[in-house]
């Protein structure tokens, strides 16, 4: 049973990390693309980039929290 718990925690943490990394890297790529295409819009893109980065990691954070709870409480 303990092995299954560790596998579940590893999956939760791993998938959370993967999702967060994918989201933020896609966003960063689009930001660079936009900045290269229209450099005069960098300040605007920068502000919107900050906002969306803050939103992207919400689900991964919940996943990390659940995984740590399972690890420590289990």
């Amino acid at each position: 049973m303990a092995e299954l718990l560790f596998i579940a925690v590893a999956l939760l943490l791993g998938l959370s990390a993967l999702a967060g990394a994918l989201g933020v890297s896609l966003l960063g790529g689009k930001f660079l693309e936009g900045a290269a295409r229209q450099p005069e819009l960098v300040p605007l893109l920068r502000s919107q980039f900050f906002i969306v980065v803050g939103l992207v990691d919400a689900i991964p954070m919940i996943g990390v929290g659940m995984a740590l709870y399972m690890l420590f409480a289990g």
């Binding site: 900050f50 803050g54 990691d57 990390v64 929290g65 709870y69």
Partner: protein, 149 residues
């Protein structure tokens, strides 16, 4: 002798960013407003629960803080202590701040589950998820410029 783009305040293509200051100020104010509203929601939820169940009340407060402390760190690093001008610098700054936020969140979650006893996990996670959802909603509502473009 030509000065470096970073020193002269020029961005990636050498265009002076005149609107950067005002734009940054507006977003910083929106971030601060969102954080204040979330602190208020956490406190109100904890106070409401304190009369019903003390453990649930402090678990709800901890859940709110587990969201607010890493988010405040990220906002501070990205919005207020940020001297990045070029796109490359901005990207590096956001990635490092995001990494710091995740590490802080993991450390705080681990500390909570190891040191706080007894704990009401339902109350903690409900508050934590509520904070995430309120963060989405408030950002979209307060940054109406974000929706229009």
């Amino acid at each position: 002798m030509l000065e470096k783009p970073e020193e002269s305040g020029l961005n990636l293509a050498g265009v002076r960013s005149r609107v950067q200051g005002s734009q940054g100020k507006v977003v910083a104010q929106a971030f601060a407003k969102v954080l204040l509203i979330q602190v208020f929601i956490t406190s109100a939820l904890s106070l409401a629960l304190i009369f019903k169940d003390f453990v649930a009340a402090y678990s709800a407060f901890i859940g709110g803080m587990l969201y607010l402390i890493p988010t405040a760190y990220f906002t501070l690093k990205v919005q207020f202590k940020n001297n990045a001008h070029t796109a490359k610098e901005i990207l590096a700054n956001v990635y490092m701040s995001q990494f710091g936020k995740m590490v802080l969140a993991i450390a705080l979650f681990s500390l909570t589950f190891m040191m706080v006893e007894p704990l009401n996990p339902l109350s903690l996670f409900v508050t934590f998820i509520l904070m995430q959802i309120s963060g989405w909603y408030l950002q979209f509502k307060l940054n109406n410029r974000f929706l229009k473009r």
